[in-house]
Symmetry: C2
Subunit: 417 residues, 2 copies
C-alpha cells in the first residue's frame, strides 16, 4: 500500500513540518489536551489492544524470547494513563520552546540580528516495547513543533496502533497536520529510514547496544542517543560509610538494567571502609567483580565491577578511558575534589553525592525525555524539549549592502541589545 | 614517521583535550596574545614561506589548475596580519564561552542541577588554501577550549607549516598543550580522519560541494558545514526600485563565488519594475537565466536565475524545495509578509531588506567563523565560539537516592533558581 510506504510517510512528515514549525503554543497545547481526553475516553479500546499484545507476548515469554521485565513493561493500564496525563500536564504548563529569542544584536543602525529557537524537522524515533513511550515521545514532538516517524517495539504493535489513532484524531481536531506524528511497524522500515536523509533530519534510537551501533554505522542522518551506559561511582577517601552504602545500593539495584545504573565502583585506596562496603553490597545481593579483565562491560544486572584506585586522578583517568560519557558520580566531602571531578570527567552528566539513577529527563524536570545522548554535539544527557530545538538567524535590514562595509563607508557596531 | 601519523595525532589531541576543556580564560587569552606577538615578530619568516607557496602556485596558475582568485587568496602579507590581529583582539575581549551556567534548577532540597557550557572535544577542520584561515580557526578553537586537527589546502603548505609552529610556540609559552592545535598536510589524511571516530568528535569541512559530500557520506563522525549555498532573494510586489536594485547587485556581485551570494531571484508577478530591474542587472554585467531547467544549480559566478512567482506562498515553497537552507532574503515593505517569510522559510539565515552576503561569522559579530552550517542539528548558520560549545549537566546532591522518589517518600520540586 503506497500510503504506508516509509518513503511516502517521510515525505508527508516533511510537508507537515512546514506547518508545525510555526504552530502557536495554544494550538499545540490544544492537541495535547485532546490526547489526554482521548486516553481516558478510549481506555477500554486501548486495554483491549494491549490485551492482544500481552497474549502474543505471553507465548514469547514461555519460549524465553523475552524476559519477565520486558513482558511487564508491555502493560498498559489505568496507572500508566494517570502517569501519562501527569506528564502531558507538565508539558502543557511549559513555555513554548520555539520562536524564543536567544539573543539579539545591533550589527549596525537599521540592521538587527536575532537568534531565534526553532524546531529541527522530521525526527525518526526507534524505541522499545513500552506503550507509554509512544505517548511521551509524541507529546514532546508536538510541543516542540517537530514531526516524527515512530517505530515502537513490535511486541506493542496493537497498543501503538490504537495510541497512534488517538494522537492523529487529537492533531486533526486541534487543527494540526495528522502527519505530525507518523507510525511505522515493520523492522524493515528501520533500515529504509536510514537512507531517507532528504526528509529525515535526526534519528533517535533507543534500544540494544547493537541496534544503536548498527544505526550509527549505516546512516548519514545525525543520530542522537547512546549505545551503552557504563556509569561509574567513585568513592573518595573522605566519604562516610552509611551514605556511601545507601547511594551505591540505589545506583546499582534500584533498576539494574537501566542505562544510568552504576556498572563500575572506583574506591580510593585510603577509604577506611573498603571491606565493610563490599560486605554490605554483597548482603544487598550484588555480585562484585574485582579487577575484571574488561572494564568496558555493561552488566545491566545486579553485578558491579570494583577497582581500588590510588587517587582522584586515577579515578578520572579511568572514567575518561572506559566510561561511555553517560553519567558518573563522586562521593566526597571535599569540595575541591568534587569540582575537579565534575570539571575533568568528560561525561554528559557528572554527579556529586547522589545516585547515578537521577540521570533521566523526568527527574531533571524536562517532563519526559526522547532519549539520553552521549553525543558530543547538539544535545548531551537526557533530551527533552530543549534538545529537540535548534535555532535560525533572522536579520532585519533597511536596504543594507555588504559593499559599504568592505569599502569602509560603514562599520559594524555589533552591540547586544 | 610515527609521530606524524594522523592516528597518533588524533590520540594526542584527545589527550590534550582533557586539559584544554577546563583551561581558564586567562591562559587561553595569553596564548592568543602570544600568537599576535609572534605573527609580527616572525613576519619575515612567514612571508618567505608564503613566497615558496606562491612560486609553486604560479605554475598551477599557468597550467590552469587554479584560477586567479584562488592564487590571490594564497597571499599572506602585512594587511592579512593586521586583519588577523584585529580578529584575535575581538576574540580576546569576548567572554569565555565555556564553563558558563546556562540555567540551574532545584530538583529538590539539597539536589541542584546545573547546565554548564563546555567545549566539544577534538575537531577536524578541512579548509581551503587561505593561510589566514589557519590562524582564524586556531584562535576560535583555543578560545573555545577545544582541540583541532587542521588540514589546510595543499597550495598553502609552507605558510601553514610556519603558522603552525608559531601557534605551537604560543601554546607552549602560555602553558597550554602543544597538541591543542595539530596540522596535517596530506590528502590521504582526510580519508583516514573519517575513520577516527573514537578520538575525533566533529568534522568541519570547507571546500567544494563534492569534497563536503564525500565526507558526509564516508564517516560516522558528525559533520558540520554546507555542501552548497543556493541562496534566494524574493522581491515582493510592494518593493521599490532603487533599493531592490542595490541589494540584488550586492547580493550577486559583491563576491559572486561566495556561498552566501544570491543564486536565484524570485520576483512577485505584480512587482511594477520587473523589466527595469532586469535591464539594470544586465547593465551590471550579470547574466540572467530565466526559467532555468535546474533551480538546484549554484552558479558561483555573475549569473542569476530568475523566476516570476504568483505570490509570497509560491516564493516560500520554491525556496523550501530548491534552496540549500543557507540564506534567503525578502525585499518587502509589508511587515506581515516579512514575518511570514522569515517564519516559514526553513533556512539557517532568513533576511529582510538586505543583501544575502551579510551571512558570515565576522559580520554577525562572532569574531570569525569556522564555517557555515546548513545542518538542522547542533549549529546552524555561521559557526563561531557558541557553535563550538556544548554543555554538560552537573548534579550536586546531599546523599540523595532515586528510591525515595519512586516510593513517594520525597517529591521533586523542579524549580529554576
Amino acid at each position: 500500500m503506497e500510503n504506508n510506504d516509509i518513503t511516502t510517510v517521510a515525505h508527508k512528515a516533511k510537508e507537515a513540518f512546514l506547518k508545525t514549525m510555526s504552530m502557536d503554543n495554544e494550538t499545540k497545547n490544544k492537541a495535547l489536551e485532546l490526547i489526554k481526553e482521548k486516553l481516558l475516553e478510549k481506555k477500554e479500546l486501548l486495554y483491549s489492544a494491549n490485551r492482544a499484545d500481552s497474549n502474543n507476548a505471553k507465548q514469547l515469554l514461555e519460549e524465553n524470547k523475552i524476559n519477565q521485565a520486558a513482558f511487564d513493561r508491555l502493560k498498559f493500564n489505568g496507572s500508566k494513563i494517570r502517569e501519562l496525563i501527569k506528564g502531558i500536564d507538565d508539558l502543557i504548563k511549559m513555555d513554548d520552546p520555539v520562536n524564543k529569542p536567544i539573543w539579539q544584536k545591533e550589527l549596525d543602525e537599521g540592521l538587527i540580528l536575532k537568534k531565534i529557537s526553532t524546531p529541527i524537522g522530521v525526527i525518526g524515533v526507534i524505541f522499545e516495547s513500552r506503550p507509554d513511550c509512544f505517548i511521551q515521545i509524541s507529546s514532546l514532538i508536538i510541543k516542540s513543533g517537530n514531526c516524527a516517524i515512530l517505530k515502537g517495539g513490535s511486541e506493542c504493535q496493537n497498543t501503538n496502533k490504537a495510541l497512534h489513532s488517538i494522537v492523529q484524531e487529537a492533531l486533526k481536531e486541534a487543527g494540526m497536520p495528522e502527519n505530525t506524528i507518523n507510525s511505522v511497524y515493520s523492522r524493515d522500515d528501520i533500515k529504509k529510514m536510514l537512507s531517507l536523509d532528504k526528509d529525515i533530519d535526526l534519528i533517535i534510537p533507543r534500544g540494544s547496544n547493537s541496534l544503536v551501533q548498527f544505526i550509527q554505522e549505516n546512516t548519514k542522518i545525525p543520530v542522537l542517543g547512546h549505545a551503552s551506559g557504563i556509569c561509574h561511582t567513585f568513592v573518595d577517601e573522605n566519604a562516610d560509610f552509611e551514605n556511601t552504602k545507601k547511594i551505591i545500593i540505589d545506583a546499582k539495584t534500584q533498576y539494574p538494567s537501566a542505562c544510568n545504573a552504576t556498572e563500575t565502583l572506583l574506591i580510593h585506596k585510603n577509604y577506611p571502609y573498603i571491606n565493610e562496603l563490599k560486605e554490605a553490597l554483597k548482603k544487598s545481593d550484588i555480585e562484585l567483580i574485582e579487577n575484571p579483565l574488561d572494564y568496558h562491560k555493561e552488566y545491566s544486572d545486579r553485578i558491579l565491577a570494583i577497582k581500588i584506585v590510588n587517587d582522584l586522578d586515577e579515578a578520572i583517568e579511568h572514567i575518561n578511558k572506559y566510561g561511555s560519557g553517560h553519567t558518573d558520580a563522586i562521593i566526597s566531602k571535599k569540595q575541591e575534589n568534587i569540582e575537579k571531578f565534575m570539571n575533568l570527567v568528560d561525561s554528559s552528566s557528572v554527579f556529586a553525592n547522589c545516585s547515578t539513577r537521577f540521570s533521566d529527563g523526568y527527574r531533571y524536570g524536562f517532563g519526559a525525555e526522547v532519549g539520553i545522548s552521549t553525543n558530543k554535539t547538539h544535545a548531551r544527557g537526557p533530551v527533552g524539549l530543549e534538545g529537540l530545538t535548534i535555532y535560525k538567524y533572522k536579520l532585519y535590514g533597511s536596504n543594507n549592502i555588504v559593499d559599504d562595509y568592505t569599502k569602509g563607508i560603514k562599520t559594524f557596531k555589533h552591540k547586544f541589545i
